[in-house]
Symmetry: C2
DNA sequence: AGTGATGTTCACCGATCAGTATACGTACGA
DNA sequence: TCGTACGTATACTGATCGGTGAACATCACT
């Protein structure tokens, strides 16, 4: 990606996330990245393609963030709920909720690339939970993974409320992991 | 509300929910309701006001739906998780997720009436869970209510995924209620 | 010296946006 | 019978939308 392309992507990421996709026009993105609209179209071809790139970048950054939190844990049991710890610090600087859920809300067309990216992101987290649960020796990793995914998404979705849901969700998640017998311990 | 006003509101509800708020113009709503744009503005004054009305109507319908499901339960313990049963049938004909979460994704401005409606809807459900938990004799209704709310929103948010999360969420919710000692039983 | 990629400037396209103006019809209640 | 509310019809405003055309500048690499 060229220098101008990177500036465009950075501006698009911030504007799309903070203000939503539909209400943000390509002119605004070009202006914020100090670039002509012509350059934007030379680099990305269309707004839809720029949206897809925006989501892909976000997905990559988020996965790296979660993976780092998981690998920082030595205890395999603690590693299972590490994504909840990552969610706490992540959402401190991402107060507009999940970019993918928001994108799906704005783009009803299932053929839009946003749907593929969003679905794969959630499935990635689900698989991660299942793998971690298996490594921790939990007897029913698939069931546990589904429960943890629901708790994770629920905590994320209730962030804008004047309730503290993140810590209770993480606490319940840890309880669920501990409740399952861990033969390897 | 006049007959024309009702037709406009009905068309707005369907279009806003199915296609999103921003991409649906007032011309389209007027056309779908068989009404002139002039009539639309005579009745609602502005698009923002129409959006607020749309969300208020949806909120009212949803609360009635959940309340009916709760009141249909004789056992107070089963009543606690009745909103999860309501969610199952509700989401069968509402496949685009939560209208309020979607609206927040499109309307970042916290001053928009959509934010107030959405927040109050979630808090209403939270209070409902707490009241039902209290009536069922649960010793920690506030804690349980937060957990049930997170599970509910999580199940709702993961609906578009090719995973069955609704039934596992409801099952876990019932387990949480049963786990708490119920002195009244 | 030549060539292709990157980027700029500026003007432009048709379509759509939210919202308004004016004038006319129709039904109902005082 | 007269006024008022409800609704229609058509035309219009200025702004913004996503996207394009054409000409020109800069730089690196061969």
């Amino acid at each position: 990606m060229t220098p101008a392309g990177r500036r465009i992507a950075a501006a698009a990421e911030e504007l799309f996330y903070e203000r939503g996709i539909t209400p943000v026009g390509v002119d605004l993105i070009a202006e914020h990245s100090g670039v002509t609209k012509r350059t934007l179209y030379n680099q990305f071809g269309s707004k839809d393609q720029l949206v897809a790139t925006y989501l892909a970048i976000r997905d990559q950054r988020w996965r790296s963030y979660v993976s780092a939190a998981v690998e920082a844990r030595d205890d395999p049991v603690e590693a299972v709920t590490a994504p909840f710890d990552a969610l706490r610090t992540w959402s401190e600087s991402n107060t507009r909720g999940c970019a993918f859920v928001n994108a799906l809300a704005e783009l009803p067309d299932p053929a839009h690339p946003a749907h593929r990216v969003a679905t794969e992101q959630k499935l990635w987290l689900s698989r991660l939970f299942e793998e971690l649960a298996t490594e921790a020796g939990c007897p029913h990793p698939a069931t546990l993974a589904t429960r943890l995914l629901v708790l994770h998404e629920g905590a994320l979705a209730t962030q804008p409320l004047p309730l503290d849901t993140l810590e209770p969700s993480a606490e319940l998640a840890r309880a669920l992991v501990r409740a399952e017998p861990s033969p390897r311990r």
